[in-house]
Amino acid sequence: MGVDLAGLRLVNPTMLASGILGYSVETLEGVVKAGAGAVVTKSVSAKPRKGYANPTIVQANCGLINAVGLPNPGIEEFAKEIRSAKNALDVPLVISVFGFSTEEYASVARKAVSAGADGVELNVSCPHVKNTGSEIGQNAKILTQVIRKVKACVDKPVIVKLSPNVTSMSDIADAAVRAGANALTVMNTVKAIAIDVETTMPILANRVGGLSGAAVKPIALRHVYDVYDQVDIPIVGCGGIADWRDAVEFLLAGASAVQIGTAIAAEGLNVFKEVTRGIGTYLKKKGLRSVSEIVGLSHRR
């Protein structure tokens, strides 16, 4: 069930998606115990951030819309958590990183790696915070600068998490690869809004947020499928994965691993174990020995 992701050795292809749990060593340990093959922490910035007022999350018909606002204690404080997590966890520890400038991305990534991160995932795709996230990842030129600068500072795998809120994800993926990205996470949430008819108000305090869950799965799957045709680096599928069948679809589309987040709310942390077990059963049924054998299989004509 093991997979190699740009040099990271995963015992199974499931990963905790960024933004979910991931503040503390204890919760990450719980996620690993529940079966995740790797964990991505909450996104961390140079300075502490409070996040937005509630409501920060709202239920849509087939998913969740969130605008939590990237709360985090800042890399100086979080480095302590990384150091102890490094000792406590026996799976790759990926730190999600964001900044408000090229320099901030680079310095947070460098500090994360020197504290013990096995890799970093650049959050260039959060749809609800100004001057960072998708505002970086929507612009190929700025994105290139950020990735180059980070790559120059760290000697660990750099994963770039892409935004679906772009005209052409292909162009952006292409720019990320040229700039030196070691892997791509496809995709972050889709920019969305929920409005309450009684009060006539947007429900989220930030008004707009990002949609995740089953509603976005076919969109994420298509993006993985398209990006796979175009790049030679591994892809991590992310968007609405809740069971083994979803996960296998992403692997067939071209993902080497999958991230799970929203599904934890309804399925519990055991979703990791169940997805892994289901993929194993599927492989056996198909007479295959490793996960890598089905990666991109749907592209055969």
């Binding site: 749990l21 929203t262 709310a265």
Partner: protein, 277 residues
């Protein structure tokens, strides 16, 4: 096909008019809403109340009835709760939930210890205990007489059913001091099957320590900063537990596991561990 994994029915926001408001003390009001889903809540569960344009806050459910109403008792302490206190009957708020686990009712001789607004979920529990004819002793604490919540409601349940002990820090009603002070003696003299506690966390910690000495099991409801309320965002973690999804009610065994945070620290809005107030 299995149900959509992302879909949690209770998590949809329902906007509702406030049906009734009752003053419980100079600083605490009870707000009653009509909401089918929350009306089915169990003692110990909580809901998220949206004050449109202001904030959304987690609140313990104080009562839930077959007539489809749910009640929360709220102290005006911050921006959100002060804004809620300004609301009048008929004005609209949003509600999602109920969330979290609930008190497990076990045993025939029960001790309930509540301080401040922590009494709210215990009030809900006590009504159920009484209807199950369980012998209940309720130790009710507050800073001063005016803030002793639900004293008359508890008295109305009948002294045969609920033995009530009150304590105030200023001595204006009942025993003088913290409500945990009479416990030590009570626990040595009587054997309780279970202790239910809610209130300031230092109070709960003291109850837990005394109960540990006498080997009595505790179920305590804890409070932490909450955002998503469905176990995703990690804002409310204590040790390996998420208060919203694994709690808010924790057993003695679980409390032992989080001893290095319980009664000592919480996570602030930045996710940083900070000392409890």
């Amino acid at each position: 096909m299995k149900s959509l994994a992302c879909h949690i029915d209770a998590n949809h926001v329902r906007t509702k008019p406030i049906v009734r408001i009752e003053a419980e003390s100079p600083t605490v009001k009870t707000f009653i809403l009509r909401d089918k889903q929350c009306a089915r809540a169990k003692p110990g569960q909580f809901l998220m109340l949206w004050i449109p344009g202001v904030d959304e806050v987690p609140l313990s459910i104080m009562d839930a009835k077959e007539d489809g109403t749910v009640a929360v008792s709220v102290k005006a302490v911050g921006e959100a709760t002060r804004a809620l206190h300004q609301k009048r009957t008929g004005e609209t708020v949003g509600v999602r939930g109920p969330f979290g686990n609930s008190f497990v009712m076990r045993g025939q001789k029960i001790l309930v210890v509540g301080g401040g607004t922590g009494i709210a979920p215990l009030m809900f529990l006590t009504r159920k205990l009484v209807s199950n004819a369980v012998s209940t002793t309720f130790v009710l604490g507050a800073q001063t007489r005016d803030e002793l919540l639900f004293k008359s409601d508890l008295e109305k349940l009948g002294t045969k059913r609920v033995r009530l002990l009150t304590s105030t820090e200023d001595g204006s009603c009942g025993l003088t001091g913290l409500c945990t002070e009479p416990l030590e003696q009570m626990l040595t003299e009587e054997k309780f099957d279970m202790i239910y506690a809610c209130g300031p966390e230092q109070m709960i910690l003291r109850v837990f320590e005394l109960a540990e000495n006498q080997r009595v099991n505790v179920q305590a409801s804890l409070e932490r900063l909450m955002r998503c309320a469905i176990g995703l965002c990690g804002s409310c973690v204590i040790g390996k537990y998420r208060v919203c999804a694994d709690g808010p009610v924790f057993t003695s065994r679980q409390l032992r596991e989080v001893r290095n945070e319980f009664g000592l620290s919480k996570r602030d809005r930045y996710g940083k561990r900070v000392p409890l107030d």
